[in-house]
């Protein structure tokens, strides 16, 4: 369980450029949940995320993981974190070194590490030829895959992902997220996924937390949050296009439920057609 108790975070507190990035956040995330964290640009998502592994220390309040208070740089192995910019977490000279860094620090055996390297390359769909390349010679999307791999290779119990699919090609994006979801289901890990891609949020998460201007604006199931489309659009967010399509059908008088994913849309449309006959 992750608990945020009255968390406030202020950058440059007391200085003229002070910025209140989180304002009295109270949240509880249960073990095994898959959370979607959404919010307009600058709403505080990355700041919240950086509190989960002690990269930032609360100005006020505290953050607890399994009832233990997160202190600076304490929970690096339990909490696997993929940063918003892959460049911020990649620092070794070769892809191989980058991948073995975490596992070696965890004192895993070399044979276990080797096994995991091949599993993880497969997971993020990078060819083994890249192992000897410099991470800095990779394309943007390849760097992103490496950043995801270097975290997942440690098999963390809590996975915190800050816009992890930015820059992935559409096929890679879909399949890597599917695999993360499978990992979540199989290992019962907790996942927090910050994203601006509402379709991927709708397809994958069980609960959505909406941040706006440093505060929690909404917190609920996919259906609960996406049924408030007007409010979301007003703060710069959106709902999936397919949701809007069925919303319009409903407005026109068709007896349809709202849908959030492609699969739901297909089932609902088939039902509508059946009803007509």
């Amino acid at each position: 369980m992750i608990r945020f108790e009255n968390l406030t975070y202020i950058y440059y507190r007391g200085l003229p450029n002070q910025c209140v990035a989180l304002d009295n956040i109270c949240l509880e995330i249960k073990a095994g949940e898959f959370i979607g964290l959404i919010g307009p640009t600058g709403s505080g998502k990355s700041t919240l995320i950086r509190h989960m592994n002690g990269l930032l220390k609360p100005t006020v309040g505290r953050v607890l993981i399994e009832l233990k208070e997160v202190v600076m740089k304490s929970t690096r192995f339990e909490v696997g974190m993929v940063f918003q910019y892959p460049e911020d977490q990649i620092f070794e000279q070769t892809v191989f070194k980058e991948l073995v860094f975490g596992p070696r620090n965890m004192n895993l055996s070399e044979s276990e590490i080797k096994k995991r390297i091949f599993e993880i390359l497969d997971f993020v769909e990078l060819p083994s030829e890249v192992l000897e390349s410099s991470p800095f010679d990779l394309s943007g999307g390849q760097k992103r895959r490496l950043a995801i791999a270097s975290v997942l290779i440690m098999k963390p119990k809590v996975l915190v992902l800050d816009e992890p699919t930015v820059g992935l090609d559409p096929v890679g994006k879909k399949s890597i997220l599917q695999k993360i979801k499978q990992y979540h289901e199989k290992e019962k890990v907790t996942v927090v996924l910050a994203s601006h891609d509402i379709e991927e949020i709708a397809e994958n998460v069980n609960r959505i937390i909406v941040l706006d201007k440093a505060r929690v604006k909404m917190d609920g199931s996919v259906a609960e949050v996406f049924s408030r489309a007007d409010e979301l659009i007003k703060i710069g967010l959106d709902v999936p296009k397919i949701t809007k399509v069925f919303g319009k059908l409903k407005q026109m008088g068709y007896n349809t439920k709202l849908v959030y994913t492609l699969a739901q849309a297909q089932a609902e449309f088939a039902r509508l057609l059946g009803q007509r006959e």
Binding site: Q84, G140, E163, G236
Partner: protein
């Protein structure tokens, strides 16, 4: 016009990254480039303003060969570039100065510069960040600053490498609307690299790269019909396009807009 003639390129002279690329980007065109990770999109983009030069073949920008080092400034002034990672682009510490920097180089008069900078920051929703340090911005705020710099310059050609990747939905719409407007009202040519097929669908012409080769080129609606080839190139059609296509609608591949989709669905439901 920007013309690429038989362009080949490799970073290590072993593994080819661009293979015999022949392309033209005409004045006033809006072109989108899509393709899998590592297919060569950013490498191609960097050839357009002379940041990279071909190993063989030529890139000619309004009559200037990018191999001519004496004219590299002219090439850079005509072809504005937004890099994939904003950190490679932002030069000044302060937001406002960063956006103004590009204009100073173009010797835009001070008074006009001030107006243009304010205007673009306002349109991109970051006017309130103007005096802040670039370093302390959120991901999306930083990306907006990077885009603002080039939009304010209004070069003849704009090359944008995934400029909306970290933006919220509103920001993405704002940037796309601004690009459309600069293209249609000011005749600025745009080459947009993107992984969002909804954005690619707004271009006049779509270019699909696969492993350093141009494998498809044409109007988006036409290219979208090549589902399998696209899938092999790491691409998926927009969600509602897939939905319509699977219903076997006649024009399924071309539907990217929700209103069009509603019209088609109603037709089916009403049995007409």
């Amino acid at each position: 016009m920007i013309e690429l003639k038989d362009v080949n390129f490799s970073y290590d002279s072993v593994k080819p990254v661009l293979n015999n690329i022949n392309l033209q980007i005409k004045c006033g065109e809006f072109v989108a480039v899509v393709g899998a990770n590592g297919s060569g999109k950013s490498t191609l983009a960097k050839h357009l303003n002379g940041l990279l030069v071909p190993a063989s073949g030529d890139v000619v920008v309004i009559g200037i060969n990018t191999k001519d080092a004496t004219k590299s400034l002219a090439v850079k002034q005509n072809v504005g570039m937004v890099f994939q990672n904003p950190d490679n682009q932002l030069v000044s510490a302060i937001v406002e100065e960063d956006v103004a920097f590009a204009l100073e180089n173009l010797q835009v008069p001070h008074a006009e510069m001030k107006v243009r900078v304010e205007e673009i920051l306002e349109k991109l929703g970051i006017l309130e960040c103007r005096y802040r340090s670039v370093e302390e911005l959120s991901g999306g705020q930083k990306q907006r600053v990077a885009v603002a710099g080039v939009l304010a310059m209004r070069p003849r050609f704009m090359v944008l490498d995934e400029p909306t990747a970290m933006l919220d939905p509103q920001g993405r719409n704002d940037v796309m609307a601004l690009l459309k407007k600069l293209n249609s009202e000011c005749g600025i040519s745009i080459l947009l690299i993107t992984h969002f097929m909804e954005e690619a669908a707004l271009a006049e012409r779509l270019i699909v790269l696969n492993d350093g080769n141009v494998i498809l080129e044409g109007a988006p609606k036409q290219v979208f019909g090549e589902v399998e080839l696209l899938h092999k190139s790491g691409l998926l059609l927009p969600q509602i396009t897939r939905f319509c296509a699977e219903l076997k609608l006649r024009e399924g591949w071309g539907i990217v807009d929700e209103d069009e989709c509603v019209v088609e669905l109603v037709k089916i439901l009403e049995g007409s």
